[in-house]
Amino acid sequence: MKTTNDFILTIIGSGGDGVISAGEILLSAAASEGLFGFLLKSFGPQIRGGESSIKLRISNEEIFTQGDFVQVLLVFNWGDFPRFKTEYDLSDGAIIISDSDDKLSPLSQNLPWDEKKLVNIQIPITRLTKELTGSTFNKNIFSLGLLSAMFNLPSEGLHKAIKRKFKKKSEDVLKSNIDALEAGIKWISENNLNQNDFRFEYDSVEEPKIIMNGNDSISLGAMYQGLEFYASYPITPASEILQFLGTHLPKIGGSVIQAEDELAAINMAIGASFAGKKSMTGTSGPGISLKAEAIGLASMAEIPLVIVNVQRGGPSTGLPTKFEQSDLLQAMYVTHGDAPKAVIAATSVEDSYVCANIAFQIAEKYQLPVILLSDQFISAREVSLRPFKLNKFEVISRLKPEDNESDYKRYKITENGVSPMAIPGQKGVIYQTNGLEHTSTGMPSSDLDIHKKMSEKRDLKLQHIAKEFDFVVQKDCDGAKIGVITWGSSKGAVLEAVAKLKKEGKKVSFMAPQLISPLPIHKIQPFMDKLDRLIILEMSFGKQFYTHLKSQLKLPEDVVVYNRAGGKPFSVTEVYNTISKNYVGEAE
């Protein structure tokens, strides 16, 4: 019997099977027991009632991805399996559990039974649930009981999680769920089915974890920086920010408005920021395209503003529920003209909190639009992670003039391009502004000298930002001749792949800049300069990250770009193989 401290489970089922909530409950169980977890969900095309699946990884060590190979696959209904076949890779010796009440047989499925030595376990799940709990309603919870007993999944945590989940429901509902769980556990031990490979074993765990997704993390970061106004239009996978803030921001006095479209949303946010409030708007790729013009306005009129793009598969409507990193160049060049702005990319759920904080710090300090890139893979995952400190960031607010400041000029030329911004209501510093080129007092002008001076002023900010906010994730490995650079949520897979290589004695340096534009060249160039070979890793068919890096840096002679169209995040194996294949450096 092989045990593991890194357990990977997939469940597949139909609409009524409760697959998603089973996954959520198990994640919650893990978290409450102090385990790390990583949950992904996947759905068929039906709006409701269609097939769905989850992949859940649990470990007592920190994890950065969903894991590659499924160790335990639970299928309620083989009819739903084909839809997800390409999404999940099976581990050698993976245990395939299915409902023997299903009319389709596991063995007739196109699965690598022999090649991978898969283990076939069939349990009459539906019938047992009915017999033991009185109805088939709690099939998913009963199955959690089975799994818990079979693989030593935290049963105490499961009790807690179920209580948590049903605390608003009636006592009866709660009890019937607990009963179902226990029935499942009991059935396994009665049938001596608890000695399986992949039993989850671990030594010690830390304190209980929190469960969060990327969108919530962004919302919290913005709130910590004093967000007061959020305007947005619903869009997958960014709607949760609107929904979360809509519920919680009013509690701390802020306002959230669902606009009639994305153009309205960003212009509302600009209006609110002009009026003196910390403002944000959020969307996904199609919405960014619609916000293009107003992003330029914010740049020209020097309005502090954070714009979130939770990327999904493109182009156009593309793959709305899938992951891709293909809005990178758009973030920089979406609007016409030379329009300074900053672009930040979050690399994980936790990092989303960090990046939201820094996005606001930059936007407020430098009075410009900041695009914060997240993606479907960060936003839709739910992870169990260490609670983090909220207050690790300085709250930065825009520079304001004194009331009645003499000779106040809204766009005064200064050493770092930042000029005090009067807030409506302030006396004696009234000004009028516009999206036209303007003088230091904000008067429209098409004079070329003024245009030159003001272009310089706006650009100056970028130089300061690159120095002041030069944050990157960097793991230099002494003596490494090869380095990997990636961005955004692909960081996780690279991090794990590099760690694996390190264990094998291979030296690989690693970087993922969070500040994408202005790129902190003073940090990245030295990283590159040490390398013989650079691997650039990104989920964009158009090699957008490569294009960006090439345009900004002097890349090593030897560059390998590993990229592909999106749909499914990089696996650790994929990255590991890519690096291994291209490895240069000391042999072991």
Partner: protein, 289 residues
Amino acid sequence: MEQPQFIYKSTDYKTDLKPVWCPGCGDFGVLGATHKALAELQIPPENIMFFSGIGCSSRFPGYTNTYGFNAIHGRAIPLATGAKIARPELTVVAVGGDGDGYSIGGGHLPHVARKNIDLTYLVMNNNIYGLTKGQASPTTPTGSITKTTPYGNMDSPVNPIHYALAYNASFIARGYSANMKHLVELIVAAIKHPGFAIVDIISPCVTFRGDEQYKTLKDLVFEIPESHDKTDKVAAFHLALERDDNKIPVGIYYQNPRPTYHENYDIIREKAKKSGKNELTDIYSLFQA
């Protein structure tokens, strides 16, 4: 120390910037009327924000000594909406042209109206695109020759009053830039009105529509009689239909206050706070497993 009642003169609302407008442009009248209205209302200039899009008329905020933002084409309304939600204690006015408001920006009007955002919207309607030198606007009369209708405009012009009624605006008026006194009254009433107030103002473009407009309008424009019931939507709809005598009623077509967005949102804030857990740390604790 008590403040004297009239401290602001209409000239206090004027900036030094010389309008780029053509001599005789109707927008001068609207600008003057607005400055007068603000003086009548005695709102401190620093407590006012003007927003506009792009157009001759949209240059307005630059000529008004209040906080002001001449932004991008068609977005005056969402900008003003955001500003008002952010700072409900300040006075917010959106201004612009017929193209800005009824063409490119037309999609925002229904929503500012039905949400009843407490702001005033002054549309300088000149039946043309002035700034871009004379293309047809959504209010250009059928048959008119413009740069983009070289063979005569074939579209039926929009009816802004009908729009506003359909959108459930709570204050709807029409003014005429050359009727200064009446226009001042309308603007004062619009700003005073709690909720969204739209004033469609006939403001002739002498350069691209000729100045005979002034002559014909003089005889066409008449004030809406007192007898008109301002709370009757159907009556207002009827009043705004095209008339056989081509006459144009000016004045308040409809006024029927209801709770504003901001009043409603205050209620929402109260509801949201009911749990009592209103610190960020409370919200963060929801994520604990």
